[in-house]
Symmetry: none
């Protein structure tokens, strides 16, 4: 499996080859996912369950909070399958979970699930109602005090309709990002997305950074922006495992740094995503990353399902789902730990029988 | 390779996926192994050597205390081959040895061999003559003070005729265990075993717990019961790697706890065995574990030799040997470290040329 560089230098990821990683999955949920047709990341009407099911499947290969794993109405299976397959072939040293506001806690024992007393956020067209500054500070504190027995950390997310809140966040912060955010749909509902985002932004009643985040963002973005700045204290290497949503986290960090007029040594930081995001014609992660005032390394693995015959998996190559549950970061981790494409596909196919 | 749950929840073993393990092999010997036809775990007349040879083979893939590795008269090779194969494919972080009374010390340098001044125990039909309370206390102290740089510990055993002393121990402690203990033979010598056990129990001259253990048990069971209670002080995750003998260790712990009227949080504890034990028709490990008053997680991997053509290995699938030298625990460890069946079989076949 090959790793390609989207931006930056390959040295960062090569340095991590063979080192041990902790995989942290942020679970979050926004009522924005109740807007019809915006996201297909889960069971219609029950998208709020997707992060819970993803966490259960990743940890124990079983879903306990629903009779089946999250898949779209078109039967596109969750990218949790990809991350789980990697965890079986070249296990992460630790799997940990951040509860950033889910309705249903994953039913798993032994695993660390960090609880911050954060609630599910609201629909951004009605004002998300997030305690943004407090959640950001919780992220900073967590990141600053975070201790691990592994060499680096992979930070992933699962939050349905997260690309819409990410798009709204970046646009509201003043970045020129129309048509740059990806979607879990092959045929991205761009008109609807733009309309939702514009409606959210038109409702804004403040120009203060944290007021903006409170109204149009989501818990995942705000908390992890804090986490990143917390990690800057000890500089444990950190890979954001995700696509344009993780780019929005970085743009949020960028805006906060500007406001604080703070210096930032980003050398500990990178982003890893899938080929489906990196090559997506309906979005542009590279251009989002180029908007940052600090340097960033970003990668994708060349993994795809071209050698699989499974129709549900082929949908990924056609542009459905694309990324999530850290699939891109897991694949890049797999690549620097000697795992090859054939075996990953074999493992994933086993999940689907 | 798949892991199946015998009892408890899969969460414990999933939590350990990718984490590092120390493999501790308890070496012990009882003169009970001199009863003709009771055990086939080694060279007839020299069964006392088996633990020594197993330790040497596991550590250095060579036997120094005999010209050949331990195998049965039917040429069933020792399960040490399985544990050694796993150690080559996904090495344990540490291999350590407990000398719980062997005649001949393994001839290996560098490796830690803990010496407790324990002698080989006697034939249970004549009173085993074990300093049970002292050995138990040594186990508690060792377990309590045990420090490791790995994430968890796998505790294995090698003691010929150990299923008979295990059966005697559990029965003498008052558990209803007839026909529940396994055997290294495909055609278990049940009549002989029962006769030996009943003879041992009829000779008992006390109803005190440690007197019973002193007369009908073995050093492995008594010491490791203490070790487990010692581990409860720090709760380092501990996997008992073995079949019905390890179940007898747990039943002994259960009896001691009852006598002490002590609470016990067993959440750090599990058992892993082979498919040959888990599916054995002549024994019943699940029902042994169900007799415990505390919760226990127990697993087996679905490893077998069905894809091997080697006649000596096929004997395992027919029911010979079944378990020992931590084979079941090693296989479950292999499964949570990305090792597959084909490669394990390849390694084992190499040992046999």
């Amino acid at each position: 499996m090959k790793i390609n560089t989207i931006i930056g230098k390959k040295d960062f990821i090569e340095y991590l080859r063979g080192k041990s990683a902790t995989f942290i999955l942020s679970l979050s949920s926004t009522k924005t996912d109740e807007i019809d047709g915006l996201s297909q990341a889960g069971i219609p009407g029950k998208l709020y369950l997707t992060p819970t099911l993803d966490a259960e499947f990743l940890a124990i290969e079983e879903v306990r909070s629903m009779p089946q794993i999250a898949s779209t109405p078109n039967n596109v299976p969750t990218p949790a399958l990809i991350s789980r397959a990697i965890h079986k072939l070249a296990p992460f040293k630790n799997l940990e979970f951040l509860d950033l506001g889910v309705e249903v806690k994953p039913k798993i024992d032994y695993f660390k699930i960090f609880d911050f007393g954060i609630n599910r956020s609201g629909d951004i067209t009605k004002g998300a109602g997030i305690e943004a500054e407090s959640i950001f500070q919780k992220g900073v504190e967590f990141g600053k005090n975070y201790k691990t027995n592994s060499d680096y950390v992979i930070l992933a997310e699962t939050i349905p309709s997260g690309t819409t809140t990410a798009y709204a966040t970046a646009k509201a912060l003043g970045y020129d990002v129309d048509n740059k955010f990806s979607s879990s749909y092959k045929d991205a509902p761009n008109t609807l997305k733009k309309e939702v985002v514009n409606r959210a932004i038109n409702n804004l009643n403040s120009k203060e950074l944290f007021d903006i985040l409170a109204q149009v963002s989501d818990n995942m973005i705000i908390f992890n922006a804090g986490l990143i700045l917390g990690f800057a204290y000890h500089k444990t290497p950190l890979i954001l495992a995700g696509g344009t949503q993780m780019a929005a986290v970085l743009l949020t960090v960028n805006s906060i740094l500007k406001e604080m007029k703070a210096d930032f040594d980003s050398s500990f930081l990178a982003l890893s995503t899938t080929k489906w995001v990196a090559k997506d014609r309906n979005s542009d992660i590279k251009s989002l990353l180029e908007m940052l005032d600090f340097e960033i390394n970003a990668y994708y693995s060349d993994f795809d399902f071209s050698t699989s015959n499974h129709p549900a998996l082929k949908l990924y190559d056609e542009g459905e789902a694309k990324e999530g549950v850290g699939a891109g970061g897991a694949l890049v981790y797999g690549a620097i730990n000697g795992i090859d494409k054939i075996n990953i596909i074999k493992e994933i196919e086993k999940f689907l029988h």
